[in-house]
């Protein structure tokens, strides 16, 4: 077993890293909203699910790929992937704003208790998932293969698959862009201001509704990108995948310290890696248990996650 593990260590690590980056992007969706509203956005998992479907629809219907067609190469591949990424991000971003308007805005402006928006978000999550279930007849939807999943390099005997490389590189770029966005831009500064102190931010002339919508948009964009990467990597999706991935990503966000962008990053990466290693040793069926046990242990010693909840310092 152990010798086997040593052989496969690198390829497991690559797979784990790319899964980790998918978690990072979804976790960013949770963490952005949590940082500003102090609320779990329960429907974020469905935003992710719609992102995966956007990619499938673009590949299948816009570019007319079928299961038999030849994978694209070169510049055409680059261009198709870019359109898919943009489409997924756009759909998820719009959906996320819509979600805020329907499930959160009215309740927030009325200053209701914390749990009412949680339930209305759960309601929206049911609506979105059921809508997609009816559209797809409760079936898994396969995505046609757009790219050859060949290995582009071999490092110490481990194959470096192209799709994993794309996920890791793009995930890292998106993460860095988001970090700069929150640090440098006007909206980013407003988001940080609101997450520090809502009342003072309002007094300083920050338009709260605009900032909250903006936060949901940014979170949705990141989650949508994760949807694209998921479809690229696993090549199928269904109305129910949001739940599983959403829970894992949420765990990742908590692990790093929710409301904290850096925390989502390290939480997601470590969760992806741990999950992959754990399924190698214990079999995939125990993977979720390992993840939660790690979470329990981490929270026992560091009740605010590894990086804490201090949004303001770490975000800047």
């Amino acid at each position: 077993m152990l010798a086997n593990f040593q052989d496969q260590f690198l390829s497991l690590t690559f797979g784990g890293l790319s899964l980790g980056f998918i978690y990072v992007l979804i976790a960013l969706g949770y963490t952005m909203v949590y940082g500003v509203l102090r609320m779990i956005n329960f429907a974020n998992s469905e935003v992710f699910m719609y992102g995966t479907f956007a990619t499938v629809v673009i590949i299948r219907d816009l570019f007319g790929f079928t299961q038999q067609s030849e994978p694209a190469t070169g510049f055409r591949l680059f261009y198709i992937l870019l359109i898919c990424l943009a489409g997924s991000m756009f759909l998820s971003g719009v959906l996320s704003i819509f979600l805020e308007l329907v499930a959160y805005r009215r309740l927030r402006n009325r200053g209701s208790n914390k749990l009412a928006p949680l339930i209305s978000a759960i309601g929206m999550s049911i609506v979105l998932a059921e809508f997609m279930r009816i559209l797809t007849d409760s079936r898994y939807v396969g995505s046609p293969r757009v790219m050859e999943k060949s290995s582009i390099a071999t490092i110490f005997g481990a194959n470096l698959r192209l799709d994993n490389v794309i996920v890791i590189v793009c995930g890292l770029v998106l993460y860095l862009v988001l970090q700069q966005f929150v640090k440098k831009t006007r909206l980013g500064k407003a988001i940080r201001a609101v997450s520090m102190n809502e009342d003072s931010a309002k007094l300083m002339g920050v338009n709260l509704n605009f900032v909250v919508s903006g936060t949901f948009l940014v979170g949705g964009l990141m989650t949508g990108a994760a949807g694209f990467f998921y479809t690229l990597k696993y090549e199928n999706t269904s109305f129910s995948i949001g739940f599983e991935l959403g829970i894992a990503a949420f765990t990742a966000a908590i692990l790093g310290g929710i409301g904290n962008i850096k925390g989502a990053f390290y939480g997601g990466i470590s969760l992806g890696l741990v999950e992959t290693y754990a399924s190698f040793f214990l079999g995939t069926q125990w993977k979720a248990v390992t993840v939660f046990l790690i979470l329990v242990v981490v929270l026992y010693f560091r009740p605010n996650g590894v990086f804490g909840e201090a949004i303001t310092q770490t975000r800047a």
Binding site: I40, K114, S120, M124, I126, E130, V296
Partner: protein, 339 residues
């Protein structure tokens, strides 16, 4: 807006003792009559009306009452409540098929098992607050389900079949399709639970929970042993969940890990909040509506869960405190750090 809760409370407070007994007895009588109303507009199109009343409605009501102790009374967000339900059900399943104990003998064992699990989870988890507690309890629920799924000793994915029905009492035989008898039995359990919660709420423990929910730090400063009472709330909530599990298993006679998913926890949480967190009657009403509604609107066939979700969103937007909210004076003051 018209407040049904205050309206009901004002009638109750104005009436004398005789009147109150009368109101209570007639309410119980109406509830007990429910299984006979199958022929009316209440009828559920596809599922058998009598069986819908037993599961989900009655079972949901018991579980919602239990969860209400944890979340409504003491303000602890528990997203893994299904774990206690599962532990109760598996206790019934295993002991019922492997030993000669009957349902009523297993019931206290199941409750004890669930309470023990509540203690094990509570001691580390209740050091955390708010959303962290939520995710830990959620994780616990999933751990219990996945463990049940992967341990072949307790049936694995196939679950447990052939769980015995409760033994005959007073010449009344619990056959699988004798839904009325089950319903009345569960009604008695519901009444017992209500009684227990009402007694506890007016005592020291109830006041301690109330203070913890409103402001945990202030409660601690005033000398309330918050950790102890949080554990108590958790364990009592677990005991009710365990009881519901035992009863559920001896009604459906077949359990599998699929019956104990996170969705159940979320649905029960929705019952509590939808009905009116902290108010026993609201919680029961929420459980009745949310348990019954998906089967009533089955004529929408495929779209019924979609409609269910829309109802949740609309209701929460229109009545964020639930259909029957708690009394005004019991409402928590807005905590300083909440937004």
């Amino acid at each position: 807006m018209f407040n049904l809760r205050d309206f009901g409370a004002s009638i109750w407070e104005r009436s004398d003792r005789k009147m109150r007994v009368l109101i209570a007895l007639s309410a119980i009588a109406v509830a007990a009559m429910l299984p006979f109303l199958g022929g009316t507009f209440l009828n559920t199109p596809v599922a058998d009306y009598g069986s819908v009343l037993v599961f989900p409605v009655a079972i949901f009501a018991i579980m919602a009452l239990g969860l209400n102790i944890v979340i409504g009374k003491s303000g602890l967000l528990d997203l893994g409540y299904v774990a206690f339900f599962a532990i109760g059900a598996y206790t019934m399943g295993l002991l019922g098929t492997k030993t000669s104990l009957n349902t009523w003998e297993i019931l206290p064992i199941g409750i004890a098992m669930a309470m023990f699990a509540g203690l094990i989870l509570g001691v580390p988890a209740l050091r955390l607050r708010g959303d962290y507690l939520a995710i830990i309890t959620l994780g616990f629920g999933e751990i219990v389900r996945i463990t049940a799924l992967n341990l072949n000793a307790i049936g694995g994915a196939n679950g447990i079949i052939g769980i015995p029905t409760p033994p005959t009492i007073f010449g009344l035989e619990y056959t699988f399709d004798n839904h009325r008898l089950y319903f009345w039995t569960f009604l008695i359990i519901i009444l017992l639970t209500i009684w227990m919660i009402r007694r506890l709420s007016v005592r020291r423990g109830g006041r301690a929970w109330e203070s913890i929910r409103q402001d945990e730090d202030a409660a601690e400063l005033m000398g309330v042993p918050t950790f102890k009472y949080k554990i108590w709330a958790f364990v009592l909530g677990a005991s009710v969940g365990g009881a519901a599990g035992v009863l559920y298993a001896s009604k459906t006679l077949f359990i599998s890990p699929d019956n104990f998913t996170l969705q159940v926890s979320i649905l029960i949480l929705a019952c509590v909040i939808f009905g009116g967190m902290g108010n026993i009657w609201g919680v029961i009403l929420g459980a009745v509506i949310l348990g019954y509604l998906p089967d009533r609107i089955r004529f929408l066939s495929d779209a019924r869960l979609l409609v269910f979700g829309i109802v949740l969103v609309l209701m929460m937007n229109l009545r964020p405190d639930g259909i029957l909210p708690r009394k005004k004076r019991e409402k928590a003051l807005p905590a300083k750090d909440s937004k």
